[in-house]
């Protein structure tokens, strides 16, 4: 037992950056990393559509959304890096946090790491997420943490466009042809069980809520369901009833898909540490 433990400790120190990050992470850092990872992973997923969109305009649209999300995640990573640097003399950068952490350290929502599937699933996921993100950031804007408030206020303007664009697609496909309607139904079936995690607070979220730096995500559920329901109705689709909801992403317990995303996203920094454009 003792041997196994010391072996594990040794393994942990193999990656200096990793130990730097995980050992110093307080609850606030964990919360900010959750916000950063969620937006980064969805940005990475959406960017897979680049040059593969159904038509040029929509290719540009989803890539622009990806860029907005990436910008938001950079703001969070930069802030997390600043805080971690204040509490250590082993400085980390936004790049360390994005490129040198492992699956178990990533705290993104599971829904963001799911494969894009077809176009129906890609736009439906974006719609579910954008409505949630809007409700969340409206509250985050009231945070007593000025930096989080500033990042949220900035992002809200962008999210408005994401909601408008993705809701139009959900309606167009749901209330479209038999084929597009069927695709949208399949998409709902495929990803609905990942929407419950939006509203299941992790320990770090509860503590940040108590300290006034983050919202209580449980309170966002009713409004979210109401908005989703309105759009799905307009799209001639049905909101599923209560089913078992997946969770774990916020705690670093992921689907098998995240490892593949990280392998691709991080390969350059891991092969050529410190490489720059």
């Amino acid at each position: 037992m003792q041997d196994l433990k010391s072996l594990n400790d040794q393994n942990d120190f193999k990656s200096l950056e990793r130990s730097k990050v995980s050992s110093l992470e307080g609850f606030r850092d964990a919360y900010i990393l959750h916000l950063a990872d969620t937006t980064l992973i969805l940005a990475q997923r959406n960017s897979e559509c680049c040059a593969h969109g159904p038509i040029l305009e929509q290719d540009i649209a989803i890539t622009n959304i990806s860029l907005d999300l990436l910008g938001q995640s950079r703001n969070f990573y930069q802030y997390a890096a600043t805080l971690i640097n204040q509490s250590t003399n082993q400085p980390v950068t936004e790049d360390n946090l994005a490129y040198l952490r492992t699956e178990r350290e990533f705290k993104n929502l599971l829904i963001t790491e799911l494969p894009n599937g077809d176009w129906a699933q890609t736009v439906l996921r974006q719609y579910f997420f954008s409505v949630y993100q809007h409700l969340l950031y409206e509250q985050l804007e009231k945070s007593n943490d000025e930096q989080l408030s500033g990042i949220a206020a900035k992002a809200l303007k962008e999210i408005n466009y994401h909601i408008r664009w993705s809701s139009e697609w959900v309606i167009r496909l749901g209330d479209g042809t038999d084929e597009s309607n069927k695709r949208m139904k399949n998409a709902i079936q495929a990803i609905w069980e990942y929407t419950g995690e939006f509203f299941m607070p992790a320990d770090y979220e509860k503590i940040c809520f108590e300290k006034g730096s983050g919202p209580d995500v449980r309170l966002l559920k009713e409004k979210w369901l109401q908005r989703i329901n309105e759009t799905l109705q307009e799209a001639t689709l049905t909101t599923p009833g209560n089913i078992f909801m997946q969770s774990g992403g916020k705690q670093g317990i992921h689907t098998e898909h995240l490892g593949f995303i990280l392998a691709e996203m991080q390969s350059l920094q891991r092969t050529y540490p410190g490489a720059e454009w």
């Binding site: 305009e57 929509q58 540009i60 649209a61 890539t63 622009n64 959304i65 860029l67 907005d68 999300l69 990436l70 910008g71 938001q72 950079r74 703001n75 000025e146 930096q147 408030s149 500033g150 990042i151 206020a153 900035k154 992002a155 303007k157 962008e158 466009y161 408008r164 664009w165």
Partner: protein, 166 residues
């Protein structure tokens, strides 16, 4: 050129720096200076150090790094040595900070300038920068850069960029 009101009382160095910043173009829309865009929020001069405070247009605007570098080069070129570029997020940038001159230059360049936020939703159509018709339609809410949407004129049929209200 418009400058935030709090800087009416310039020192002569600050005035010079504002003048230099007026000559730094936006890397993606080079007809606009960074002052036209309203992204320079303040200039502070302390002894030998110059601090320029800027705010990003969009969270993911890839031009911000280039803009910081361009400001630094411009100031170095004019003999300033200690330069600090600080990026702040709040208050969040809005297209309402774009100068009237900036909007005029945009239209001449072929990009429809943003309406005021308060005018959005009043049902006014975007004016075609080519033939000035208001008979235009939205092609895509997302255009060639994060800050633009793609429109088309129903009269002259030209597609054009609209600088989105933000």
């Amino acid at each position: 050129m418009t400058q935030p009101e709090q800087h009416i009382d310039f020192t002569s160095t600050e005035k010079k720096i504002w003048g230099l910043l007026e000559t730094v173009p936006d890397p993606e829309i080079p007809v606009l200076s960074i002052l036209d865009l309203g992204i320079v929020r303040a200039v502070k001069v302390r002894e030998d150090e110059v601090e320029v405070i800027i705010t990003p247009t969009y969270s993911g605007c890839p031009a911000m790094d280039a803009i910081s570098m361009d400001i630094r080069f411009k100031l170095i070129e004019h003999g300033y040595k200690k330069i600090k570029i600080t990026s702040i997020l709040s208050p969040a940038w809005t297209t309402d900070w774009m100068s009237a001159e900036g909007k005029r230059k945009l239209a001449v360049y072929g990009i429809a300038p943003p309406m005021f936020r308060s005018d959005e939703g009043l049902g006014r159509n975007i004016e075609c920068p080519q033939c000035h018709s208001h008979n235009t339609k939205l092609l895509s809410q997302f255009g060639s850069t994060a800050c633009k949407a793609l429109y088309q004129c129903n009269d002259c049929k030209e597609p054009f960029d609209y600088f989105k209200c933000h």
